[in-house]
């Protein structure tokens, strides 16, 4: 009977068993890695904006409170994007002739909205409410990061559901005193564990079970 396979095919057969396993593992690992990379999550990827607004300058150097522009954040689900009018309240006096401000002035005159590019976006079926979070001691920084250090705003976290749940399951790890909610670079004065659990009492927070009800965020 003629040989239909050369001797080395035995070796090939054996290695291929291992090879398949290795390749499979590599594929899975690679896929997972890519899926969590900023290419997909966009975390830390700056977003180009029509107006080169500098948070470091306004929120950092000048120390404007977040609410000066995002004025609905403590009253409404939506934090609000400042209308051109808000910018003009200062920039009708300051740096009026700066070319980068032209779009703002134009918007203000024509009434045509500035089309900002969205940075943070939750899917349609997630009902996030800024009001309750800032009123219960969740700092802006906790979700949005050090905006005072971002020349162009970028997403600070994945905003995956599992990420939200980290805090909804153990809020005491993240809560701040209400005075520090709008503060950037806040460091707890005391041990966060103690402070957190005290604040949970103080704020009369919902039970963990309730914070993790589906209808807390989905309806």
């Amino acid at each position: 009977m003629p040989q239909i396979f050369p001797p080395r095919s035995n070796l090939f057969a054996r290695t291929s068993i291992l090879g398949v396993l290795v390749l499979l593992a590599a594929a899975v690992a690679g896929g997972a890695w890519y899926d969590h990379s900023s290419a997909v999550t966009k975390v830390g990827v700056p977003i180009e904006q029509p107006v080169p607004f500098s948070h470091p300058l306004h929120a950092g150097a000048l120390g404007l409170n977040c609410r000066y522009c995002h004025d609905a954040v403590d009253q409404s689900a939506f934090a609000d994007i400042p209308p051109a009018e808000t910018c003009m309240s200062c920039h009708s006096q300051i740096a009026t002739d700066r070319p980068s401000l032209a779009p703002v002035q134009e918007s203000y005159q024509t009434g045509k909205p500035i089309e900002w590019n969205r940075v943070n976006q939750l899917p349609d079926h997630v009902f996030f409410n800024h009001q309750i979070h800032v009123n219960k001691g969740v700092g802006c920084e906790t979700c949005h990061g050090r905006v005072d250090q971002m020349n162009q705003i970028a997403k600070a976290h994945t905003f995956y559901m599992s990420w939200c749940l980290e805090c909804h399951r153990e809020p005491e790890k993240y809560l701040r005193p209400l005075d520090n909610v709008y503060q950037m670079g806040y460091q707890p004065a005391e041990d966060q564990a103690a402070l957190g659990s005290r604040l949970v009492q103080e704020y009369d927070l919902m039970s963990e079970q309730q914070l993790t009800n589906c209808s807390t965020c989905h309806r």
């Binding site: 003629p2 396979f5 035995n10 599992s162």
Partner: protein, 464 residues
């Protein structure tokens, strides 16, 4: 049993060679030597596969609204077919695993085919849990895997158990079937004329050389697999039964479902094997290998299972009455006289009445009648699932929401489409692989030669 002993499990006058030749020539035949019936059958089956693909594409594009389902009847043909196919998929493993453990030598010439049929049936069944979803592209939500939502499936839900049961069953059945094929693939490799065919079979046979060491390992692993596969035969359909037993709908809420579903499954499985084997042994002139003895035994198994199923029906009715629950009673009566009564009496006729004919040897030995009965049982078991699933749902607790279920052309296309797929796979299997286990037939020849027809007299086991 005196009588059936007379019919051997292998007609006399066969040698190792003749057995090998006879079986291996089927897949190795030149195309022009293939029976026309093969082309005809495969042609029809293939057309049905196209219909299936068309229907499923449309289903994915437009949604499950294409089916006749509604509120209250959320499950129709989709789940009926699922349960039916999964049931059919029981014969194979039972024949090869359980009968192997019981050392039933008559399994030898049918186990290969039965296992193949099992695989194809389960493959069909496994599609329906996905096809019936409102959002099929999200089927993977049913599987436990680390995800961005930080969520797990609902492990209390029988549908999740189904996922595990079916995938396990499929994997094990496949491995078991392939294990069995390996030595024969080697034979094919050696017998094939064309070098490429040799290479193909060579790769598939994983370098089997038939050394004593090979055989030693092989036998032990094969027995092990058999032991592993056996509990699955029970578990899979028990869990499918629990899909319904778990619900509180009158007609579902019943503890007898798991055993009763398993019996029904084996019942329909054997029926399907007969439905396929009777014409095939004619077509390929395999009467020598698949003898009356085989058909007779299978018929007996069917009769036994049929009786268990009949007992199930009786208990269902009894429980309905004994529960003194108005809803249960109403549902039971509705089966007798309601809109679906013809289907109910149809299933009683097919599964209970027709099956009783199998008491008579003359019937068991008359292939035509046996064939008809096996088909009736297939139909009957399908009707049983229709009654359990759709009839129960159509009239539950609150009359204002009662509504009947009427299948649409899409329900039907998908159903016969899967039948086409099943047959197409069978035909391809016949063309590519030896439909009967060559090496086990050789063992049988050996056994009969050295240990007499009953194979019971002491002697060296097949392993050496």
């Amino acid at each position: 049993m005196e009588t059936t002993k007379e019919v051997p499990v292998l007609e006399p006058g066969h040698s190792y060679v003749s057995v090998t030749e006879k079986i291996s020539e089927i897949p190795l035949a030149k195309v022009r030597r293939m029976p026309l019936a093969w082309f005809a059958g495969f042609g029809v089956a293939f057309a049905l596969v196209m219909l299936f693909l068309f229907a499923v594409t449309n289903l994915f594009i437009r949604g499950v609204g294409l089916f006749g389902i509604n509120i209250p009847v959320g499950w129709g043909f989709d789940i009926i077919n699922f349960v039916w196919w999964i049931g059919i998929g029981h014969a194979g493993t039972l024949i090869s695993a359980i009968l192997l453990l019981f050392r039933q030598d008559w399994r030898t010439s049918i186990n290969r085919f039965a296992e193949a049929m099992t695989l194809f049936a389960v493959a069909n069944a496994a599609m329906f849990p996905i096809l019936h979803l409102g959002r099929p592209w999200l089927f993977f939500y049913l599987m436990p895997y680390p995800n961005k939502m930080g969520l797990w499936p609902q492990f209390r839900s029988p549908l999740v158990w189904d996922v595990f049961a079916i995938t396990t069953y499929m994997t094990v059945s496949f491995l078991f079937w392939y294990m069995g094929l390996v030595p024969d693939l080697a034979t094919m490799r050696d017998k094939a004329g064309n070098i490429w065919l040799k290479r193909l079979y060579g790769i598939l046979s994983l370098g089997w050389r038939g050394s004593a060491r090979h055989w030693h390992h092989y036998q032990s692993v094969y027995l092990l697999m058999a032991a592993l596969a056996t509990p699955l035969v029970i578990s899979v359909h028990s869990i499918v039964g629990m899909d319904f037993a778990y619900g509180l709908i009158p007609g579902w809420h019943s503890t007898i479902f798991p055993p009763y579903f398993v019996a029904g499954a084996v019942f329909s499985g054997f029926a399907m094997v007969l439905t396929l084997l009777i014409p095939l042994r004619k077509l390929y002139k395999l009467e020598d290998f698949i003898t009356q003895r085989h058909l007779d035994n299978m018929a007996k198994v069917m009769l036994g299972m049929g009786l268990i199923v009949a007992y199930g029906y009786i208990m269902e009715n009894f429980a309905g009455w004994y529960s003194a629950d108005p809803f249960e009673i109403f549902n039971t009566v509705d089966r007798y006289i309601g809109a679906y009564a013809p289907l109910y009496w149809g299933l009683i006729f097919c599964n209970v009445v027709a099956a009783q004919l199998l008491w008579f040897r003359r019937v068991r030995n008359n292939n035509l009648i046996l064939f008809v009965i096996s088909i009736l049982i297939n139909v009957g078991m399908w009707l049983e699932r229709f009654i359990i699933i759709s009839q129960s749902l159509s009239k539950d607790f609150i009359p204002s929401s009662w509504h009947l279920y009427v299948p649409t052309v899409w329900d039907i296309s998908v159903f016969i489409g899967t039948i086409g797929l099943f047959l197409a796979l069978i035909f391809l299997f016949l063309r590519v692989f030896p439909a009967i286990s060559i090496f086990e037939m050789r063992e049988l020849v050996h056994k009969l030669k050295h240990h007499g027809p009953d194979g019971k007299s002491p002697g060296p086991s097949a392993a050496d």
